[in-house]
Symmetry: C2
Subunit: 467 residues, 2 copies
């Protein structure tokens, strides 16, 4: 690696390319080619989400990419919020289409006309579905791999309920799922209720999960929205209750994008490259034979080891002939494989394995005959260590601030008191370049004074220069 993580932007660009996650040379701005290694990570995360959602009784569907303009425009706030960043198809072959078709920027307007056909009575509720698709946004700002792209790999869950309370319970369930999910990715986060002017277009409220990148900038990596009846009124999604009354359903959504991969890169990586949490690493272990005088035997023993532990873990045997062990160490460290096993003549003689942890760079000697169990323990320990380290690092990236000057001066995210007014939020934005992330929902405020206007308040909030 050419750049140190201290030069975060340069380091980030270098690591996503050199580690083989994406190729940025595709000739459309903000659209990158997922290379096999990057795509393998994305697919592991997708499968993890599927498993989780199925266990919480969601079903998977796939809705078409293209949304007719009239359907797209039915919910007023939604079209106002998204209209400016939609790619439009207006021609098929050489013929103009009857009606322009939007490339989905998100799928409310594709799904909800069908929901109004699917839902008849309370017996059809709750409806809990999700899909994993790509969404498209015509970004005019500078693009950056995983963090701001125009074709976005995206998970979206949509639910319909009989009442506001049931929708609220769904949001609680989403938070539960989110916690399990982030633990598997070893990612720390803060749940913030976004201010009204920053909520999802059409939502009643938005809870966002923000992590903090080593640059000191917050990154939104997940969102949960309660729509109340805003969309169901626009799309006429009604149900008949037990008493024969008709009412509009209450709706929620839950969204996660490929930004989590950007977060994994940024939060866990180091000057040698990626560090992948074992739960989502395409390879958890790489075996590198150190061939010396007894080459054949070492290769043979490496294959035996591969077959033995390959049934239990995701293992790569790197027996490439034309590369030195040193090069292979460098290569797999760059790609963030959590555990490296070196197998050389001395290891064979002593009936041990030499194991190197990617997170701490420690080398550990493990008895050959207990290796399956020991590898399991170390992988578990790496997962836990990455998580703890990331949570600690995030805490260090937050700084208390009492005034606009302190906010402006700080390179970190600031925890401030805020009276809650849009005016004070706007002043923060204008005078510091940072934005209000909203009220943290898992943390109570103590009395204090608004960092802008000085008014007494119990509201605390995070502010930062969001990606």
């Amino acid at each position: 690696m050419e750049f140190s993580k201290k030069d975060f932007n340069e380091w980030y660009n270098e690591v996503v390319e050199k580690s083989g996650l994406v190729d940025k040379r595709y000739p459309v701005k903000g659209m990158n080619v997922w290379l096999p290694y990057g795509w393998a990570i994305a697919r592991r995360i997708d499968e993890l989400l599927r498993e989780l959602m199925f266990s919480f009784n969601h079903e998977e569907v796939y809705f078409p990419l293209l949304i007719p303009k009239d359907q797209f425009a039915k919910e007023e706030e939604h079209i106002r919020g998204f209209g400016g960043e939609v790619f439009w198809v207006e021609k098929g072959g050489d013929s103009p289409l009857d009606i322009p078709l939007a490339l989905r920027p998100t799928s409310e307007t594709a799904m909800y006309p069908l929901f109004s056909l699917w839902i008849r009575t309370h017996g059809d509720l709750p409806l809990k579905i999700f899909q994993i698709v790509n969404v498209f946004r015509y970004e005019t700002k500078q693009t950056r791999v995983f963090l701001r792209v125009r074709e976005i790999h995206f998970f979206e869950a949509h639910t319909c309920h009989r009442s506001y309370e049931e929708a609220e319970n769904q949001i609680k369930e989403d938070r539960e799922i989110w916690k399990i999910f982030c633990d598997r990715l070893a990612l720390p986060y803060i749940l913030n209720k976004r201010p009204d002017w920053d909520k999802f277009a059409g939502a009643d409220y938005t809870i966002a999960a923000d992590t903090i990148m080593p640059s000191g900038r917050p990154l939104q990596i997940g969102t949960m929205h309660n729509y109340r009846q805003n969309f169901s009124r626009a799309y006429n999604i009604m149900f008949l209750d037990e008493n024969g009354n008709r009412d509009y359903v209450h709706q929620t959504t839950f969204g996660i994008s490929e930004r989590v991969i950007g977060a994994i890169v940024g939060v866990h990586g180091d000057d040698r490259g990626l560090i992948l949490p074992p739960d989502i690493a395409p390879y958890q272990v790489v075996i590198i034979p150190i061939v010396g005088e007894d080459k054949e035997r070492i290769i043979e023993e490496s294959k035996r080891l591969f077959l033995e532990i390959g049934g239990k873990y995701r293992v790569k045997l790197d027996d490439r002939d034309n590369y030195t062990p040193g090069y292979k160490f460098y290569d797999w460290e760059l790609r963030g494989v959590p555990l490296r096993i070196e197998l050389g003549p001395r290891d064979l003689k002593n009936n041990v394995l030499t194991v190197a942890r990617r997170d701490t760079l420690e080398r550990i000697t493990v008895p050959r005959d207990r290796c399956i169990e020991e590898i399991g323990k170390i992988l578990h320990d790496i997962q836990e260590n990455l998580k703890k380290r990331a949570w600690n690092n995030m805490e260090d990236l937050v700084e208390r601030a009492e005034s606009l000057e302190e906010i402006a001066k700080s390179q970190k995210v600031n925890l401030i008191h805020w009276c809650g007014s849009e005016e004070c939020a706007r002043r923060i934005d204008q005078e510091t370049g940072k934005n209000v992330l909203g009220i943290p929902i898992e943390r109570d405020g103590t009395p204090g004074r608004c960092a802008v206007c000085g008014k007494e308040t119990k509201n605390i909030c995070y502010v930062g220069k969001s990606y």
Copy 2:
């Protein structure tokens, strides 16, 4: 089911909707909503393909959806072949784009500019990648679920080689993969080398796999193309060989679309609905408790059975309270679950299970304590039986013909002698509505006379009214 399979078109439409595969009410022609059950089948087939491709050393990638017009137009025949059916994006938000972007109808033109960057020397070859994506074609003909749609779920493998011989070997490997794949789907097929005027736009030659639907119409369900150097010349994909000479790579592709699902529906189904081959059925077994006097015990035993066999097979326990066993039988037969287990008081008493096969509708009594093994055997037998039955049925859907009159009269696919001329092929099309599928590559011809011009020839070929 309202329609019998004898009324094939109506039956097909009814079964795809009633069995919960798709919802056709999405408001864009030829774009359907994949419902959970249909999507589960598609995903199982995708996973099967992934497994197969990985085992043959392909890697999975994901290329962007949108292709700039200048890239798209580089290979002349290709743009001539596909240009008329491309959806074009020409606007982002309210602004016209600098260059129109095509929604991929297939990904040669997205991939190959990058291939020319990736490949430098013979050490980079062979390059073997695939992706599973949706492609888009602006169909002007009548659309039909799975068979002719505008958003197509699609598998495409792309390879680059040093020589024509290596490319030919790749096509042989594709045929090997294709055979394994079709066996898992229990689908019969004929491999036909398409006539030149019907090959893939830009290919040197095309081998298509055609199956025959019960309507007597052939359905193309897979294709393998040898491109020679046609695309590598247009996209400048060159490599340096061992002797320091530069040459263009030889390329092949291999494509499979969601049409295979249409084939599974049409080829295997019956008047009760779908029949799914066990290898790709989302549920291989459904357990239906027949509750009588001893309800609690039956439910408890059903759950025990579910836990026991659920570790080994994909099993659904249908313990819905508000439906009769009769309704559940009907429902799961419609959805094509290969094996139904009925568990009632008498079964409990006799320590047996009553098992019903979806393919033959036979009911079999199985000892409770050997059920895991017996279920495995029966599922295997269903898979084999479906395959054999489908191959036999396909044979019955082919009829030998000696003249244009016989071709025109026949409701089936015809096996004819054909001199190989485009003129005779055009006459078949004009006078019978059938098209020449090309020369079968796994079947030798015997001498005979062209069904059109009477010229002596050893060429045999299939003709039919293709979907």
